[in-house]
């Protein structure tokens, strides 16, 4: 199937940019706070060309990758463990219910105490926030593995570990993927937030620093770059997900018929 180009959506986007341009140029004084879109785009080209942006993107991506990978390992691991044992879950349930709704940036001061103000702190904070959706989705996925499937593994005398890796985790993988996708956006939020609190590089630091030094077009350009980065990460994830979970889409589509 050929991917359809969302012409209507692109038209709305172009319209938005045109309105931004027009308003910024026509409303007196607004241009100081919101420079015209064309100027922001040109500035973006500038900070791209001189390497200023790339250095900050690289710093943020390292933190993002570290935190996200740590969260994926922790969330899937703990989710499988807790999803396999009601007893174990009953021990930690109150703790989970207490910590989960707490806004994750609240962990930044604690992380600074333990890990200082470097990369470790930002990775830990990001990992903490991202672990929850992955853990809870994995937990739910593992719990809802059909008992007919478990009994099938049992009648074939498939051992505990093979059942875990070849039956339970694949069966739960669509929900694990959902958790991973939710966490993708959260990771970027926490990386940016922690960089805004304390850092000397990274997109979060860069944006705040540009604002403080009144480099307003550059600030918008960096924000735009952050949006594009989030978009690209999501697209990359969806491409991977579409490939790995093709069976799930096929199987569930059939059930709808």
């Amino acid at each position: 199937m050929r991917p359809r180009v969302p012409w209507l959506g692109l038209a709305v986007l172009a319209g938005g940019l045109a309105a931004w341009e027009a308003l910024s140029r026509s409303v007196p004084g607004l241009g100081d706070y919101v420079p015209p879109a064309s100027r922001v785009l040109l500035t973006l080209g500038g900070i791209l060309a001189n390497g200023e942006l790339a250095a900050h993107v690289r710093a943020s991506l390292v933190r993002f990758a570290g935190g996200y990978a740590l969260a994926a390992a922790l969330g899937v691991g703990a989710g499988v463990l807790l999803g396999s044992s009601r007893l174990l879950y009953s021990f930690v349930e109150p703790l989970v219910e207490l910590l989960r709704p707490m806004p994750s940036p609240a962990t930044i001061p604690i992380a600074i105490l333990f890990f200082g103000i470097g990369d470790e702190m930002k990775i830990v904070v990001t990992a903490y926030a991202c672990t929850w959706p992955i853990l809870l989705n994995t937990l739910d996925g593992v719990r809802s593995v059909d008992r007919i499937l478990r009994r099938t593994a049992a009648t074939f005398r498939v051992g505990r570990w093979r059942t875990l890796f070849q039956v339970v985790i694949p069966a739960a993988s669509p929900q694990i993927a959902t958790g991973l996708r939710v966490s993708l956006a959260i990771a970027l939020i926490l990386v940016t937030t922690s960089e805004m609190v304390v850092a000397n590089d990274g997109l979060g630091f860069y944006i705040l620093d540009l604002q403080r030094s009144f480099r307003i077009p550059e600030m918008y350009a960096a924000i735009l770059a952050l949006a594009v980065l989030g978009y690209l990460l999501n697209r990359g994830f969806l491409a991977l997900d579409g490939w790995a979970m093709a069976w799930h889409r096929g199987a569930t589509r059939k059930e709808l018929l």
């Binding site: 007919i148 009648t155 069976w247």
Partner: protein
Amino acid sequence: MLEVRSLQKAFHPLSGGAPLVALGDVSFRVAPGQFIAIVGPSGCGKSTLLLCMAGLMRPTAGTVLVDGRVVSGPPENLIVVFQEYNKSLMPWRTVLRNVRFGLEGRGQSSTEIDAEARRALDLVGLRGFERHYPWELSGGMQQRVAIARALARRPAVLLMDEPFGSLDALTRHELEDALLQVWGEVGATILFVTHDIEEAIYLADRVHVLSGRPSRVLEQIEVALPRPRHQLKTREDGRFIAYRHQIYELISRETARHAPASP
């Protein structure tokens, strides 16, 4: 070969209260290579019996013997085929890899496993569908995959829990004949649970009729119909109709006995 001795199973409701006794006292013996069908009123514990025999559920009392050995977990040479093929097959594996599932991790080389899996798929008439995914196939074909997966292990005993219960009548008849043919070729002992009296008579050497809860074996009826069986001729045979009559009456008497008393 296969023996069930005074098997009992009671479920204790989570809400407390009186336990639900599914299996009262079930006993029977099956000789090697026999095809036994089990019928009974709905909710009589047919599936519970099968799960206990498969070592997938612990009975409250009594024993199951496979090859003279007491069943305490899933026995090596016994495989269960479930009704819900869409839940027992793995949608992330192709047909061939689903059949391979039961053979992997047992010390065989990948080429040997492949050969065994393809042989099993040939048996059920699914050659050419190796690379399909289960969800790309019809229900009947999916159940054939599940049967092939079981056969690939060359089990001595095959326990089947209403395997054709969710298929339409024509597909069901097609699979009944396919199963009889495969059974003739592999010579396994088959225990076939069904709620369809005609299916039981059509397939089996002997039909075990269970009572309502707490269930026991009401009667064991030897089916003296010639093989190979034929969907039309066998079902029109006078003896077939007589068996149907007999079993139907046994079951409806049980159902009436268990019906709530009318006000």
